[in-house]
């Protein structure tokens, strides 16, 4: 890096690109090169930096109270703001080994003073930052919930009694401790006794108060760590319909989390969709709740929550909406004798923003419902009203084809599997998940599917073939292939997400893996030795990254009032993101090669 090259290097980096040649020379002459080890701090919160850093090689992370704010890569410079303000609000440290130029503060400030172009550059940057700060603040109430951990919330202190204690003694201790619950150390593990247990057993069943408390306790409790997210706790409670969780730290129980505490914590937050859905009494309330989800997703995403959790959360909520709605619309007899299923991305639990509804109803053989047509029509229309767009392929309950008896479903499955008919339908059905009604109907249908699968290579080849249907938008020279007629965008679904989803689905079907989510499927396939561990990790990360990238663009499109599609614009990505996308697409290519080899796709 001779002097000439140093000059060439920084002359492309804003705001230095606005400098005259002589000014540039001054800058170059004053620059040093510094080396930082991984993890070393360049600027600490509250201190005044003495130079502007320009990265030659390496990555720097900017954090605020341990939360990532930004990432800087080669050719980025930082932190002009702290130089101007006199002190830094955030920490900057080397996320990997770093070589960078160091431009002394006085010189930098001098330029800002004397060069209008440079001045303008930074003042613009400042106002942008200010705006984003304000924006951030507006989101805080949801945000704080998103990142809240169990340790942030009130926990009932754990009050233990021995198993042989009498109910009377135990209640005395409860009263004394002002606690609404008590833990029992019994042979079968830790049990819990709440007011409700006492009401049910002692008051209603007249269980003698001198008998042992262990008899009336509830067991099989679930425990979580103190550092788990509240979100996670809420999910677990909802999924298992329980009201208490044991909280432990270092294998010791340090408290009990009660649903009521959790909910009251949450109810302080205006946009708590889960609670809203739970409490909705009619369609109108449910609609509001469902629409609020989108706002919540924005907040989630802005906060860098792992996409995996986000998907889980959204799926859970969507299914609650479906379940609730089905209960509102369907008469009890239908509810009992049918199963509402969601399929495709919704079934895999990979939907974030609402996409086309893919749903169906399986009816018990022999059951006839007179108003079925009316009910399914209402269901479909209400969902459209809620913001779940209609499916273009009419894979919806109001289509007779997707609302039929178990027997008819089995016929269909037979056609799919034995006669290779309609692989698209089979693919969607592979991802079916029951959300309301009698789950066993879907279970039986799926079992039938697995029984009828044969080790027929031709069948699996056909099924897997679409994995290769689209070219990966990455050229031989590792540049993106973009659509020149469509603002240089590329379709990330066709190019990256779909191949992974479908390839993994095909492998999962072949190995009769019952999991629906792509990531879970990959994990199970890895356990079966189909992928090696390193490749599985790469695949999951690539998938994760592309999903979150798509979300980022979808949110942006939504903000602009456009209809969101699956297009992303590589030119809008920063260098790190572009590199990650390239890596992800390379992994997609490797995966396609694997699928091609595994299913012998060059033969069909």
């Amino acid at each position: 890096m001779s002097i000439l090259e140093q000059k060439a290097f920084i002359s492309h980096i804003p705001p230095f690109d606005k400098l005259q040649d002589s000014e540039l020379q001054t800058v170059v002459d004053a620059m040093d090169i510094a080396y930082f080890k991984k993890g070393e701090h360049l600027i600490r919160q509250g201190t005044s930096p003495d130079a502007l850093y320009i990265i030659i090689k390496g990555i720097v992370q900017e954090t605020c109270d341990d939360e990532m704010v930004s990432v800087y890569v080669s050719q980025d410079s930082f932190d002009a703001i702290s130089l101007l303000d006199g002190s830094s609000k955030n920490d900057f440290f080397a996320q990997e080994e770093l070589i960078c130029y160091v431009l002394p503060k006085p010189l930098f400030l001098n330029f800002i003073q004397n060069n209008d172009a440079v001045k303008a550059f930074y003042s613009q940057d400042l106002s942008k930052r200010l705006n984003s700060l304000i924006e951030q603040r507006n989101n805080t109430d949801t945000l704080s919930f998103m990142v809240a951990k169990i340790k942030d919330i009130y926990l009932q202190p754990p009050v233990f009694v021995a198993a042989e204690s009498s109910v009377y003694d135990a209640v005395q201790i409860m009263t004394h401790q002002k606690s609404s619950l008590i833990l029992v150390k019994a042979d079968q593990g830790i049990g819990i006794v709440t007011d409700k247990n006492i009401r049910d057993y002692v008051v209603l069943q007249r269980y003698p108060i001198d008998n042992s408390i262990a008899q009336i306790a509830s067991y099989d409790l679930i425990s979580l760590k103190r550092d788990d997210f509240l979100l996670h706790a809420l999910l677990i409670m909802q999924r298992n319909s329980i009201k208490h969780l044991l909280i432990e730290q270092d294998n010791e129980i340090i408290g009990v989390l009660e649903q009521i505490d959790l909910l009251s914590y949450l109810s302080n937050h205006t946009r708590l969709v889960a609670v809203q859905i739970d409490r909705a009494q009619n369609k109108a309330q449910l609609k509001v709740a469902s629409q609020n989800m989108t706002n919540m997703i924005k907040a989630f995403n802005a906060n860098g929550i792992k996409i995996k959790y986000l998907m889980q959360w959204v799926t859970e909520l969507n299914q609650q909406v479906f379940k609730k709605l089905y209960a509102f619309i369907a008469p009890p007899a239908l509810l009992e004798n049918s199963c509402l299923i969601v399929m495709g991305s919704e079934g895999r639990g990979e939907q974030i923003l609402k996409t086309d509804q893919d749903n169906a109803i399986i009816l018990r053989d022999g059951f006839v419902s007179e108003d079925l047509e009316k009910i399914t029509q209402e269901l479909t229309e209400t969902l459209i009203d809620f913001g779940y767009p209609a499916c273009l392929g009419k894979i919806m309950v109001n289509n007779e084809y997707w609302c039929r008896s178990l027997k008819e479903f089995k016929d269909k499955i037979f056609k799919w599997v034995i006669e290779f008919k309609s692989p698209l339908e089979l693919a969607i059905f592979c991802d079916a998940k029951a959300v309301a009604g009698d789950v066993s109907l879907l279970d039986e249908a799926k079992q039938y599917l697995f029984e009828r699968l044969q080790d027929n290579q031709a069948f699996f080849s056909y099924f897997a073939k679409p994995t290769l249907a689209f070219e990966t938008p990455l050229s031989l020279f590792a540049t993106f292939i973009v659509d020149k007629y469509n603002q240089n965008k590329l379709d990330i679904k066709k190019g990256g997400i779909f191949p992974i989803v479908h390839g993994v689905r095909s492998l999962a079907l072949e190995h009769k893996i019952t999991q629906m989510s792509t990531i879970e499927r990959i994990k199970h396939l890895t356990e079966k030795g189909i992928f090696d561990k390193a490749f599985a990790t790469d695949l999951i990360e690539a998938f994760d990254f592309m999903i979150s990238l798509r979300l980022q663009f979808e949110l942006e499109q939504m903000k602009q009032g456009e209809v969101y599609d699956n297009y992303i614009q590589p030119s809008k990505l920063n260098k790190l993101e572009r590199d990650l996308l390239k890596d992800s697409l390379k992994i997609v290519n490797d995966f396609k090669k694997f699928i091609n080899y595994h299913f012998k796709l060059s033969n069909v």
Binding site: K410, D411, F414, I418, E419, E451, R452, Q454
Partner: protein, 102 residues
């Protein structure tokens, strides 16, 4: 798939009909083509001069040439016959068998 289905198909009269009809048909066609081809080969093996006879007085074309072309055509025609019958008769039988064990 399970043993029960195997048993079920095996005992299905339609299956037995399919197997015997199709096998017979396939073998008959195979034998026809084998006979045609090996007659040709045998002539070449033991009496090659047979094919040297002229097709007509004054012509240079030997009888072997139209015979060769005819064999090529016969292979094509026999294939056509098989495909036609399999696509209509046998396939509908198979469909019925499948219907029974769904």
């Amino acid at each position: 798939m399970q043993q029960e289905i195997v048993e079920k198909i095996k005992n299905d009269p339609k299956y037995q009909e399919l197997v015997s009809n199709r096998s017979r048909f396939a073998w008959i066609l195979s034998i026809i083509i084998l006979v045609i081809y090996y007659s040709f080969i045998m002539v070449i093996a033991f009496a090659p001069q047979t094919f040297a006879a002229k097709i007509a007085e004054g012509s240079v074309i030997t009888i072997g040439i139209p015979i060769g072309i005819l064999i090529i055509v016969s292979a094509f025609v026999l294939t056509g016959i098989y495909v036609w019958r399999a696509n209509s008769e046998f396939d509908s039988l198979i469909d019925q068998i499948k219907e029974d064990i769904k």
